[in-house]
């Protein structure tokens, strides 16, 4: 198992390097002068503009800029934001908990509702529960998150006044208010993920239930519950874990829209704003962090698969 993990870790280093080069290059070459965008329509004389460029170091040749940044990164220094008066690490640190909480809650909701719904639909194919589940999935996949978000705000915050329409309260400060503020965004964000999981579970489960060993298990006298949960579901887990893992970064990225509508100070919004505002330091910091996150998730998914399905474990470690 350890060899497996070590292999995966080593393979991820080139990925990190490549991503950092590509993002750096794209931001600096394709998107033009950061100072012009930062200054917007403010009236500033050319000398001051040039001085600002020099202060940020963006007037140097691109490979010099990259080496300087990469060197600092290896020392653990993410640098200072171009636009905000704080370090990149600090900006990200402020925003990370919000996005992590939002994504986690959305994922948990999607799992808790999606998998049972999928199983139910697979068991009672083409009957009422299946139709409902498929309907929910269709809406979840097709409805854009901003429409759903605004709809939820209009319904629950404005008309019913049950929940606040936007904003964020840190969990440490007031857990109850934190959850109240997170409920609508969580629903809005998880809709798509829930739909994906429902559909996927339904499909995979239906396939597995057709396998001969299910019939064998039932004829052995095992209860329906044991057959479904211990045997059928376990066989679904490998692809399910893969789907979970592959779509998790999308969940984090998709939080941009949700965070903007609900005014949550999260990382998705930070990334979007920083790209639009040409805050190159923050963009690079966030992208490296997300890449690291994806790499780690893939690693965990790989380990998860190997754990659930012993065949992968042995194959992966080179033992025949």
């Amino acid at each position: 198992m350890w060899r497996f993990i070590a292999q995966r870790l080593v393979l991820s280093l080139p990925v990190l390097f490549l991503v950092s080069v590509v993002v750096f290059g794209v931001m600096r070459l394709a998107l033009g002068d950061p100072v012009a965008v930062m200054l917007g329509q403010e009236t500033v004389d050319p000398e001051t503009r040039q001085a600002l460029r020099a202060a940020l170091g963006v007037d140097r040749p691109i490979h010099v800029q990259y080496l300087d940044w990469a060197g600092r990164l290896l020392r653990g220094d993410l640098g200072r934001s171009f636009t905000l008066p704080m370090g990149v690490a600090e900006v990200i640190g402020e925003r990370l908990p919000v996005t992590v909480e939002l994504s986690l809650l959305a994922m948990l909701l999607a799992l808790a509702a999606g998998i049972p719904l999928g199983i139910l639909a697979a068991l009672r194919r083409n009957s009422a529960p299946d139709v409902v589940a498929s309907g929910v999935a269709a809406v979840g996949i097709s409805m854009p998150s901003f429409s759903l978000g605004i709809l939820l705000i209009f319904c629950f915050a404005l008309k019913l006044r049950w929940l606040p329409s936007s904003g964020f309260v840190p969990f440490r400060q007031d857990p109850w208010q934190n959850l109240r503020h997170m409920l609508l965004p969580m629903l809005s964000l998880s809709a798509w993920y829930l739909a994906i999981l429902t559909r996927f579970t339904r499909g995979t489960m239906a396939e597995v239930l057709r396998e001969p060993f299910i019939l064998v298990a039932r004829s052995k006298g095992l209860s329906a519950g044991t057959v479904i949960l211990r045997h059928a579901l376990r066989n679904c887990l490998v692809p399910l874990v893969t789907v979970l893992g592959v779509n998790l970064p999308v969940l984090v990225a998709g939080s941009v829209i949700t965070e903007t509508i609900f005014a949550l100070p999260g990382m998705g919004r930070l990334l979007a704003d920083s790209i639009l505002g040409r805050d190159l330091a923050v963009v690079q910091g966030v992208v490296i962090l997300i890449t690291l996150f994806v790499v780690v998730i893939n690693l965990i998914v790989g380990i998860g698969q190997a754990y659930v399905d012993p065949r992968i474990r042995y194959r992966g470690s080179g033992v025949a």
């Binding site: 012009a36 930062m38 402020e94 904003g167 100070p265």
Partner: protein, 515 residues
Amino acid sequence: MGTGRGVRWLAMGLLAGLGLLLGSLGTGPTGARAQGPVMGGTLRVGLDAGAKSFDPHFSLQWPERYVMYAVYNTLVGLDKDLNVIPELAKSWDISRDGRTITFHLQTGVKFHDGTDFDAEVVRWNIERIKDPKNKSPQRLVLDAIERVEVVDKATVRLHLREPFSPLLPSLAIYPGFIVSPAAVAKYGADFPRHPVGTGPFRFVEWVTDSRVVLERFGGYWAKGKPYLDRIEFRIVPDPTVRTVMLRSGELDLTDGIKARDIPTLEADPNVRLAKLDSLRFTGLQWRVDQPPFDNKALRQAIACAIDRKQIKEAIYSGTGRVATHPDGGGWWYDLTIQGCDANPELAKKKLAEAGHPNGFRHRFSVSNTADEVLLTELIQQQLAKAGIQMDLELVNPAERYARVIEGKINWTHTFWSPRPDPHIRFYNLFHSKGFDNTTKYSNPEVDKLLAEAAATYDVKARKALYNRLERIIVDDAPYVFLHWPQITAGMNRRVQNFVWIPDLILRVRELWLMK
């Protein structure tokens, strides 16, 4: 009739009525005829996203100013007609040759950190802005100041290179904010996150992209003020959501109310609207130093072909005013300046004069936001009637203006917000050396008029010069002026004492809340 019981009922009724009358004369909840400002309360203000720094000498984003006007004072202030009024400077004298301005400062003023405000502090602030090493975007605004002299603790004298009348109103905005030198020394590069001023509200916290919290500064120099205990700015990027929050009671005040939401809000008993006929202008611009738009007849043709009244009805829901010249208000306003509008026949004639008798076609770059695209498509239809075809190119709004500066975009839309003095905007846009002159317009007569108007303090003379200038601009058409929008703020009906200042920044420091 007239029985004892009847009389008793009548008497009781009268007494009850009298009691009610007397009771309502006291401090009732409506308070309208009762007392003046009520002390206390927390005001929740909706703020657009984008705030990056609360150091006024380096601030670049619009939302930052809302907070800064509560935390800091400026040397002078502005009233609702854009006249300069006293603030930290309680009075001033201008020498006869216009080269010296002597400010007499308020005394007994302290910063939030306890340090004193005096003439030396004013000098330090001005020199901080002017120092090229600091790279302040406001540096050249104060270029007219050659030297700052501290006469005594309460008197500071500015020596100008030559008379420059726009300087005084400029000291009511960014370059006039007074920050605490001690706090800048203490916080260094972190000062933008710890603003310390002399204003009525002290800075408490800023959670980026979430909220800014201020609380009353007990040592404020204007006794009895401020009225509020606390102000919470909630950063909500989407103006639709801010409007919803106003209606649901989560916000007490916000601006950015869209014209189409006005009827709904006016029907809401808990909300009050404050409308301002603004000086902001929206329009089109192009490069006049290169073909095809270096052709004046062509520019005039396009200006004539557009139907601004239709734009006002369709895009702005009938609010705001049609604009055919740059400035629609202020002491320099001239209603009689009329440019060309809704005249496709004249447009076709000018088009032929310009050498395009069979029509004209060119690319137009538009921000890909719903509002801009809608406006542009309407203009496209209007121009088509005169034989002019616009090929639309959608652009990312965040980088559109940067590309205009870089010369990569030629024909596009624009808007400019008002400044407290006409010189500032006119110079930046129309002077051959103006920093925002992205049309590359250059007219020696305009340059001369601008220099003359800046060199005199006589308001009547300045007005005449600016009006002459505006007529030239309308004729030369480096911009096509379309509309002066109405800007609307919405507030809970408990919010009192709201006044719109024409520079479109919400002023929160004088507000108070009814119970």
